[in-house]
């Protein structure tokens, strides 16, 4: 029973973080219809910002959220404005080439980081990195619990933002029908730029929250891009609530797989779920929740 409960806790806590990672990609995919394959790499940049602030200025990783998120928002805005949008205007280039562009951006980010920081592994050690509390026999990592609640907070915020604010409504309108939104007077170019910035800021938050418990090196982005992709498909395109459910589903699947099947099949389990969802529930959890 102890093993079961500990696995459940581990899965849910990790899933919260996964949700945050997937949310940004989901948003971008919903609005622009492209897969941002530089997503994990953007997270890596956010993590390096956190690392630098903590290493040189002694700023707590949670406080550095206030730096890493705006910084990545600006980076995302710049990427969309100067590299992705210009591609749309060239008629001879298919819009799908934006996806290829994101692959290139991901590589450039990785190699620039390697050039600056070399391939050394970095980590941020805080007083609470290894702190745990016990409920009965079950151990909770404090850093993961905090990360989980911040992730939930961001989800609720995004939910409110998309439903209630003007910009949020414009984003949803663009996601539903770009041409119609344009006719209704939505500046879709500006919306894509804001969306990409938001997506980048969200994944930067995930990276920053991950920093106290994980480690960092320039190639860390790739696996997370893949995870984000799986989560996005699980949750449904453009759905923030779906993303958090997708994240927790993936987290639970990985945790239970690790305990009862074998940790070596970590990635396989995630991808099998991915295939099952595509086959039997195309559209993801969004189809069930309708939001």
């Amino acid at each position: 029973m102890e093993v079961f409960l500990q696995t459940l806790v581990a899965g849910i806590l990790k899933g919260g973080l996964y949700g945050l990672i997937g949310m940004g990609m989901s948003l971008i995919m919903g609005v622009m219809g492209i897969i941002n394959l530089a997503h994990g790499q953007l997270m890596m940049v956010g993590m390096y910002i956190t690392f630098l602030l903590s290493h040189y200025l002694g700023i707590d990783p949670y406080l550095s959220l206030f730096v890493s998120m705006p910084a990545l928002f600006l980076l995302g805005v710049a990427i969309q404005k100067y590299t992705l949008n210009p591609l749309m205007e060239v008629d001879s280039i298919l819009p799908e080439n934006q996806v290829l562009m994101t692959v290139g951006i991901g590589m450039v980010l990785t190699e620039i980081t390697r050039f600056i920081f070399s391939s050394d592994y970095k980590s941020v050690q805080t007083s609470y990195s290894n702190a745990t509390f016990f409920l009965g026999e079950i151990s909770f990592s404090i850093a993961l619990v905090i990360a989980f609640f911040i992730a939930i907070l961001f989800t609720l915020f995004m939910f409110w933002f998309l439903l209630k604010t003007d910009v949020g409504r414009s984003i949803r309108a663009t996601a539903q029908d770009k041409d119609a939104a344009l006719l209704m007077g939505v500046n879709s170019k500006r919306i894509t730029i804001i969306t990409f910035g938001l997506g980048s800021a969200l994944v930067a938050a995930a990276g920053t929250l991950l920093m106290p418990i994980y480690y960092l090196f320039p190639d860390i982005g790739g696996p997370f891009t893949r995870k984000a992709f799986v989560i996005t498909i699980l949750g449904g395109l453009g759905s923030t609530v779906g993303a958090i459910f997708g994240g927790i589903t993936l987290g639970l699947a990985e945790a239970f797989g690790a305990t009862y099947i074998g940790m070596a099949y970590d990635d396989m389990i995630g991808l099998i779920i991915f295939i099952l969802v595509l086959l039997f529930l195309p559209g993801g959890f969004k189809r069930l929740t309708k939001i």
Binding site: T7, S119, N130, S141, A255, A258, T259
Partner: protein, 401 residues
């Protein structure tokens, strides 16, 4: 329009820069070309970097001392990115395009396994210095030589430690990363445990790079093993130890099977969770070989960062290569192969002599050592003759420290 012109210009500038930097020293005539394959990027880049620096340091020393019979050695180092397919094409390029006389390097078992076949096919001698899966030298391939012991012999010192000190150890859990290195090592270690009369109650692989090992570790904890033996690359090693500490898991011994557990980064990232962790290792600066300590000091002085056994392997491999090139009758690959087979020399990594035993051919046989992290320092604790500090056994419980 203007913007796009600037972009195109920038792109061209970058392209031109890379084209030129790609063909550096093709002008030199009187040099002997040796190809080295290492992971310089990708998740294994940290190890590749240490080996790369050591290779360069050794070749500089050799060339400064007059090179090989008056000729300079030119190293052509190719990046495998830690992927077998990239490794294959890298080695094909070295053999067919650069026409190197022999090959060296070879980090990570999976990549090395993929590349040696190409070397054998093209009859190009390849001195492997790190890839440690047993089957690399078990194919009867006569162009493949290996400087380092195979992974199954890594725990040699640990076994003798168990026989003498840890006689009350009865049960073992083996955790290993799931590529060729971990699989090969764990299989052999499980067999050796049985030969020692120990019971292997769990043997689990995991995918390198996982965030959360708790589900796996809780499972291990419920089995209450005496020893946890882990075959891991560096960051998995730190996370495994940090999370073991968080779960308050207390076996008598935590033992790492070399690789990740001996790097300075392990202590930096695992912090206090690294305390009293044992690891098998192939080399420490205190081993009784001439030049070992000097290599360590020179490396620290030159690069301002510590080195460990992977670096020593690369450094010594370079000296073996230079020795072979001095002794060979001609620069034909067959003569070099024959010279390699006759190697009998002392290096900073230990004596090098290629022998055949069991199923292995052209394999160098070396003893291994047991180290332990004590007060943030990696101390050699076994065998006693080379120990720098007394061992701590059994490790105290986490909550009683």
């Amino acid at each position: 329009m203007k913007k796009s012109k600037v972009l195109v210009g920038l792109f061209l500038a970058i392209a031109v820069f890379f084209t030129f930097s790609g063909c550096g020293d093709n002008g030199e005539k009187d040099s002997i070309k040796v190809g080295i394959v290492l992971p310089l990027t990708g998740k294994l880049a940290k190890f590749g970097e240490i080996e790369n620096k050591s290779f360069l340091m050794a070749v500089d020393e050799i060339n400064a001392a007059g090179g090989v019979n008056g000729k300079q050695i030119e190293l052509i180092i190719e990046d495998t990115t830690g992927k077998p397919d990239v490794g294959r094409s890298a080695i094909e390029k070295l053999i067919t395009q650069d026409k190197v006389v022999m090959l060296g390097g070879g980090y990570s078992s999976s990549v090395t396994w993929a590349t040696i076949a190409v070397a054998q096919q093209n009859k190009t001698p390849f001195l492997v210095n790190t890839g440690s899966a047993d089957k690399i030298t078990e194919q009867g391939w006569n162009y493949i030589f290996r400087l380092n012991p195979p992974v199954s012999e890594y725990p040699g010192a640990f076994e003798s430690f168990l026989k003498t000190v840890g006689t009350d150890v009865k049960t073992v859990v083996i955790l290993h990363e799931n590529s060729l290195f971990g699989q090969s090592g764990s299989k052999k270690f499980a067999k050796q445990c049985e030969a020692l009369g120990l019971k292997v109650i769990m043997k689990e692989g995991y995918e390198a790079g996982a965030i959360d090992f708790r589900p796996l570790l809780v499972n291990v904890k419920s089995k209450k093993p005496d020893v946890i033996y882990m075959i891991s690359y560096i960051m998995d090693a730190s996370l495994l130890m940090r999370q073991s500490k968080q779960l308050n898991m207390n076996p008598k011994l935590f033992v790492g099977g070399a690789a990740g557990f001996t790097l300075p980064e392990f202590y930096k990232n695992a912090g206090t969770a690294s305390e009293y962790v044992y690891s098998a290792t192939l080399w420490t600066p205190s081993v009784p070989y001439p030049g070992a300590r000097e290599y360590y000091d020179k490396f620290v002085k030159k690069y301002n960062t510590p080195t460990e056994y992977h670096g020593a392997e690369a450094y010594s491999a370079m000296y073996v290569i230079a020795d072979v090139l001095k002794r060979t009758k001609s620069m034909s690959r067959d003569d070099i192969r024959n010279a390699l087979a006759e190697t009998n020399m002392m290096t900073a990594f230990g004596p090098v002599k290629f022998i055949s035993y069991d199923k292995k051919v052209n394999q160098n046989k070396l003893p291994t050592f047991l180290v332990q992290w004590i007060d943030g320092k990696l101390e050699t604790v076994w065998p006693k003759e080379v120990a720098t500090k007394g061992y701590v056994y059994p490790a105290p419980k986490w909550n009683k420290r």
